[in-house]
């Protein structure tokens, strides 16, 4: 599991991904962690197969008792099917996830962890000196879906938006945007169901000051590539299967 520090300030953002030990048949995913002095939030902690390498990687940054918060952008198995395992490892933690999905996500096992349902209009997670905003991203692609924006670090964890399906050795950041477009096209056209939802999300996100757009699969976008991505996504017709 590779670890990349993407923000270092009063606290840290760390990206985990490109797990070389994962079975080939499962999709690679990016996990993100915000580490403050005494607490950690892990975003989209991943699937069952990823649990052991992910937890081991986190141990390079924080002790297990300081993993106090988990966040699931939506209900998919690659996002949070490891929940039953985290439930054993960090029973004191809270899971912030869409309220709409509670009865579904609990199928993964959530006996000790407290499920904090996020209402449709979003909310915040206060992690010591980090105040993270939960931005609604409904229907992108899940019917109840949230992204995490950190105004201090200027990072938007954008779930499946901005994702690309790539090989395990892919770089962490998009370098040549034009070459990267084709890696994202089918994913967005097929997994994102609604042009209207896309348009509203883009309007909302353009009002944020974003230095890094951090998706759950593939490479992150930095600087001007964030704007390029939003322009590209705006022009893309999605929901092509019907």
């Amino acid at each position: 599991m590779k670890m990349t520090k993407i923000y270092e300030g009063a606290y840290q953002w760390i990206m985990f991904g490109r797990d070389e030990s994962k079975p080939d048949s499962i999709i690679d995913s990016n996990q993100y962690m915000v580490r403050t002095a005494n607490r950690c939030l892990i975003m989209d902690p991943g699937g069952v197969e990823l649990f052991a390498p992910m937890l081991a990687a986190v141990m390079h940054h924080a002790p297990v008792e300081q993993i106090t918060d988990l966040f699931a952008s939506h209900q998919d198995p690659d996002i949070v099917s490891s929940l039953g395992l985290w439930d054993q490892a960090v029973p004191h933690a809270k899971l912030h996830a869409p309220a709409l999905w509670e009865g579904f996500i609990r199928h993964f096992g959530c006996n000790s962890i407290e499920y904090v349902g996020i209402p449709d209009n979003g909310g915040t997670i206060k992690l010591e000196n980090a105040e993270l905003q939960l931005i609604p991203a409904h229907y992108l692609h899940s019917s109840a879906n949230f992204h995490v924006y950190d105004p201090q670090a200027k990072i938007l964890m954008s779930g499946d938006v901005g994702a690309a399906l790539e090989g395990p050795g892919a770089p962490m950041f998009v370098d040549k945007f034009d070459a990267h477009m084709e890696k994202m096209r089918y994913f967005h056209q097929r997994w994102m169901p609604s042009n209207q939802a896309k348009r509203i999300w883009i309007e909302r996100v353009r009002m944020l000051d974003i230095e890094i757009l951090a998706p759950q699969h593939g490479r992150m976008f930095k600087g001007d590539n964030v704007k390029r991505f939003l322009d590209w996504f705006e022009a893309l017709q999605v929901g092509i299967a019907v």
Binding site: V48, F51, L55, A56, M59, H60, P63, Q88, A89, V90
Partner: protein, 205 residues
């Protein structure tokens, strides 16, 4: 690595099979109850000729009721049994993956912090296994109890045949009742035996 998690796919299949066998027993018990009602009607029509058969029909009905009650009670325990199987599987899997995580984290600054989670899940897993085994023993006892009415039904079927032989023109009808009770009792016996074998398998997996 030593396979500490004992619950396996075959264990889940065994637990589901037990539920299925018991559901079949329930159906057979209901058939016995129906046979008893039928026998009662025939015995009533036969009057004096089937005087000895009449109390037997009540016995048959009681046995059917008793079996249905026992199976209902057993089903409640079977549900707990299934939940324990799931818990055991989950906690065993968590332990296995925490152990792997601990190995992968060797050399990491905070790897020692995993020990408490590892210890706690090991205790939970052992506790779950203990509960599971205890429950299997309880279920085996209950299955033995279900066998009692089935055995009694076979004796009653034999008596029914004797009584039927004195029922003149009702002989064939009453013998058919005795036959159906006997067959049903045999089916219950066989199904319960299969459940016992399945339980013995899961406890030794």
């Amino acid at each position: 690595m030593h396979p500490i998690n004992k619950s396996s796919p075959s264990q889940f299949v065994a637990v589901a099979s037990i539920a299925s066998e018991l559901s079949a027993v329930m159906e057979v018990a209901k058939e016995i109850s129906l046979a008893a009602a039928n026998a009662k009607a025939i015995a009533f029509r036969a009057g004096e000729k089937a005087r000895g058969f009449q109390p037997i029909t009540d016995f048959i009905n009681e046995l059917a009721k008793e079996t249905i009650e026992l199976i209902n009670d057993f089903n409640g325990h079977a549900l707990t049994f299934y939940k324990l199987t799931v818990s055991e599987h989950r906690i065993g899997d968590a332990y296995k993956r925490l152990e792997l995580s601990s190995k992968l984290a060797q050399g990491a600054q905070y790897s020692h912090s995993l020990q408490a989670s590892l210890d706690s899940s090991k205790i939970k897993m052992q506790d779950c296994r203990r509960q599971f085994k205890g429950h299997v023993m309880k279920l085996l006892d209950q299955l033995e109890t279900v066998m009692h009415p089935a055995r009694a039904a076979r004796v009653i079927a034999a008596n029914s045949r004797i009584e039927a032989s004195q029922a003149g023109e009702y002989l064939q009808s009453l013998q058919a009742v005795a036959e159906s009770v006997d067959n049903a009792a045999q089916v219950i016996h066989d199904n319960v035996q299969r459940c016992r074998s399945l339980l013995s398998v899961v406890v030794t997996v």
